[in-house]
């Protein structure tokens, strides 16, 4: 950090000092005893109840997916011209949820935001689970998922290659790369923590598992040097991914001619929406984790407040995007585009448009108030609103744009079936089941990263400002 400016003789006034990222006395040892003890203990009763609930929902969703595979996607409400409906809405929604984790682990890492350390591990795990949920939908949406390997460009006896000018193929590459990179990022961060677990545990079952997973990590200085370099490079590369993955998802729409899709604002609009929805989900999950696992000393009110500020900023950008959409429709003087835009707010599904605007733009404005940024009920209200709003935003984009396009004789309303609702619910079940399992099996906080930023963790270069010095990467 800026050690030259902070003269030891003139201490900074309190209001200029960076807020403490931990509460109470936290030492590397106490951190291990607090975080790494979770996988060693049997979970409490309420955890089993939670897993039973999410597992039931997951099973329901899997049953609905099985039913779909067996009978075909006629089981869904999709029709002509609404060829894309819940399947693609859910896909876009879940890919978006993943973006918060990548933003926290990549962009905030490069910007040296130290508050990311305590929440990065959980957010990255949520990224991976969200991308898993997202990947499910294009797969079942193809109808015959056992032939989904046709999406891969491999030499085949049909003598065909995939169409590399199709945004749908770009999407296949973007999402699979995103998953691979997120998993790599997550695993690298976990590696030193797994080594800590390995050396703590006395269990004959866990010890070999952790030994294998930690690859014999021994924390030597030369290893750390390469490790830090790799982490920095991964962060830089993942920064490109945060911006690119949802841009490519938006190309699925923007490169088509459907009114309401064919817009140049789509890539940034989608990326902002993704980060917005992702942060809301991270806030909700972190509140539960922090309360139920007693992590208030590590995930402080300050952490939640900063995340709520990000949500507020993204909400304003969403509002701006909606205004630009409206402006584009008006300024284009294209009656069909204007009709589609009016459909968002006054057509058959006009309620969905208003719900989107209320949830995404109006409700988050509460976060201007400091009290709301620090109060559970208010921030949960906002986070829930954002989650609902962002789902309905994709509903508006997909269903409202498709159900009335250029050809009035082809217009058709859309009505989801029970199977559609079941699959949507099931994806939440899958996500939260995975989150719950993760919370008990692996360290929920990146202990190694946090240790390096604790007061006194870095050598004090004689000036005695160790507490103010930054993380391992400063």
């Amino acid at each position: 950090m800026n050690s030259a400016a902070a003269s030891p003789s003139a201490p900074l006034p309190d209001n200029l000092r960076a807020p403490a990222l931990t509460v109470g006395r936290v030492t590397p040892g106490s951190l291990d005893d607090q975080i790494l003890a979770f996988p060693e203990r049997m979970p409490p009763r309420k955890w089993y109840i939670a897993v039973a609930c999410t597992g039931t929902v997951m099973t329901l969703g899997l049953a609905m997916i099985g039913y779909t595979l067996f009978t075909g996607i006629g089981a869904w409400g999709n029709n002509s011209p609404v060829f894309w409906a819940f399947d693609i809405i859910n896909f876009v929604f879940w890919v978006g949820i993943g973006h918060a984790g990548t933003l926290i682990s990549a962009i905030l890492f490069i910007f040296r935001k130290r508050w990311r350390n305590a929440i990065a591990r959980f957010a990255e795990a949520m990224t991976i689970f969200a991308v898993m949920c997202a990947g499910l939908f294009p797969l079942i949406h193809v109808g015959r998922p056992w032939l989904a390997f046709w999406l891969a460009p491999y030499p085949n006896q049909r003598g065909l290659w995939t169409n590399f000018r199709s945004p749908l193929l770009w999407d296949v590459f973007a999402v699979s790369t995103y998953f691979a990179v997120s998993a790599m990022f997550w695993y690298l961060g976990l590696l030193p923590d797994l080594a800590s677990l390995r050396d703590r545990t006395e269990s004959r079952i866990r010890k070999p598992i952790y030994t294998l997973l930690s690859l014999g990590w021994r924390g030597s200085a030369s290893h750390w040097q390469h490790f830090e370099k790799a982490y920095l490079l991964l962060a830089g590369l993942a920064t490109g991914l945060v911006l690119s993955v949802h841009s490519v998802v938006s190309f699925d729409f923007a490169t088509s001619v459907v009114p309401g899709w064919h817009m140049t604002i789509f890539p940034p609009y989608f990326v902002v929406g993704a980060i917005f929805a992702g942060f809301a989900m991270v806030v909700m999950v972190l509140i539960v984790v922090r309360e139920s696992m007693d992590l208030k000393n590590l995930i402080t009110d300050f952490h939640l407040e900063v995340m709520n500020k990000v949500i507020l900023g993204m909400s304003c950008l969403m509002g701006y995007s909606y205004v630009v959409e409206a402006f584009t429709a008006w300024y284009s003087q294209n009656s069909i585009l204007q009709h589609t835009f009016l459909n968002y707010i006054s057509g058959t599904y006009g309620w969905a448009g208003w719900l989107t605007i209320c949830c995404n733009v109006l409700v988050p404005q509460l976060l201007w108030i400091r009290y709301c940024r620090r109060s559970y009920p208010w921030m949960i209200l906002v986070a829930l609103a954002v989650t609902v709003g962002m789902w309905f935003e994709r509903f508006c984009i997909i269903v409202i744009s498709l159900h009335q396009d250029y050809l009035p004789s082809a217009w058709h309303n859309y009505r989801p079936t029970l199977v559609d609702y079941g699959v949507l619910l099931g994806s939440f079940g899958i996500f939260f089941t995975l989150v719950l399992l993760f919370a008990r099996v692996l360290p929920v906080i990146a202990t190694t990263e946090l240790k390096a930023t604790l007061p006194g963790a870095q050598p004090s270069h004689g000036a005695g400002h160790g507490a103010a010095s930054g993380g391992p990467h400063d």
Binding site: W161, R165, V181, R218, E449, P459, P472
Partner: protein, 381 residues
């Protein structure tokens, strides 16, 4: 373990704070013989410089692989889309590269990330390595928690003198605990037996995977729901059906149904039809039609020229009529038409095979054959 006379890999001193570690490094470095290595629970600032580590070459590796990813993706997509399988989409030239950029970017990121992650782990850090002496030491529990270790190491093993001097140097630098680590046992993966076992495991895994694939390929298409593509809501000819009362899938038309081109024929004998007039004009198209039908239906008995010399084998026994015979030349169009519809002697009815227009076209063609075989000078063009 503390026997200094046996070959030892390293002497390791434990410290309880990063400051103590940093202070010890120059002091031990000045006295010890061997390579200095530190073991810490997290990356410690300034350790690289203090230990004199070289910069990590990872950045260059990642750059090279990233560029390689971009080039590979461009060449791959370009070759497939413009050369091997030229596919014109959106009116773009086959070689338009702009559409390849998203996948070029993704492949670049993929190559670069895996180089960074796996290159760091496998190439630079030489992991996985489960046999390292430090992992078996007492100190490791502290190293991955909150202790800092400084080790004097040598790959070939420290000789007793070097170990002793390292020990005293670490003691003088204030190490809380000192441990002598033995030489690592040869990695189990690199003995002859280990290599054999590994190879055997790989072969076994390949055979297992191959058998699984074989059965998957065999079974997949015939299992539901994959087999649903074979089950189609369609009734094959002659198949039974529970839909109709009589259980037949194929049903007769409703009584009185008249098919197009098959109006009921009132005459009972060919002679009774003699007065009918050929409604078709004599055109090239009609004659071509008539010739085609004649050659399919009639020529087999009446001969290609209409002379009653059949292509049919003589064993058939019937004696087909010579259409060129004078008696037949005199027949009216309607009479020939009646014969086609009703048949004569061994000749069956062709009413079901030839529609009305086809029959009249055949009549025209028979007239053309008769005229061709009895051509007069003025018939020549």
């Amino acid at each position: 373990m503390t026997d200094l006379n046996a070959g030892s890999f390293a002497v390791l001193g434990l410290f309880d704070s990063p400051d103590a570690l940093m202070a010890a490094i120059p002091r031990v470095r000045a006295r010890a013989l061997g390579r200095l290595e530190a073991y810490t629970p997290y990356p410690v600032h300034g350790l690289d410089e203090a230990l004199g580590l070289r910069r990590s070459p990872l950045g260059g590796m990642v750059l090279v692989m990233g560029v390689l990813g971009v080039v590979a993706a461009l060449v791959f997509q370009g070759w497939l889309s413009a050369v091997d399988y030229p596919l014109v989409t959106g009116g773009k030239a086959p070689s338009s590269w702009q559409a390849f950029v998203p996948i070029m970017f993704e492949i670049m990121v993929l190559f670069a990330t895996f180089t960074a992650g796996l290159g760091m782990l496998l190439l630079l850090n030489r992991l996985p390595y489960f046999g390292h002496p430090v992992l078996q030491s007492r100190a490791i529990r502290g190293i991955t928690r909150d202790r800092f270790a400084l080790a004097v190491e040598a790959d070939g093993g420290l000789d007793p003198a070097a170990a002793a001097s390292a020990r005293s140097a670490l003691e003088a630098a204030g190490a809380l605990d000192i441990e002598v680590l033995p030489e690592p046992a040869a990695g189990p993966l690199f003995t002859a037996e280990g290599i054999q076992r590994t190879l055997a495991a790989i072969v076994a895994a390949c055979v297992g995977a191959g058998m699984l694939m074989y059965w998957a390929v065999k079974l997949m298409p015939v299992l539901p729901p994959m087999s649903h593509i074979l089950e189609q809501p369609r009734l094959n000819p002659q198949a039974p059906s529970t839909f109709f009362r009589d259980g037949h899938g194929m049903q007769l038309p409703v009584p009185g149904t008249v098919a197009r081109g098959f109006l009921p024929f009132p005459a009972r004998t060919p002679e009774a039809a003699a007065g009918m007039v050929n409604p078709l004009p004599v055109t090239r198209a009609v004659l071509a039609r008539g010739r085609s039908e004649y050659q399919v239906r009639c020529a087999v008995c009446h001969g290609a020229l209409g002379d009653g010399v059949p292509t049919l084998t003589a064993a058939y026994g019937a004696k087909p009529a010579n259409l060129l015979a004078p008696a037949n030349l005199a027949l009216s169009d309607g009479r020939i038409y009646g014969t086609i519809v009703l048949g004569k002697n061994a000749m069956p009815s062709y009413a079901a095979d030839l529609a009305e227009d086809d029959r009249w076209a055949v009549v025209h063609y028979v007239r053309a054959l008769q005229r061709a075989q009895h051509a007069k000078d003025e018939d020549l063009p």
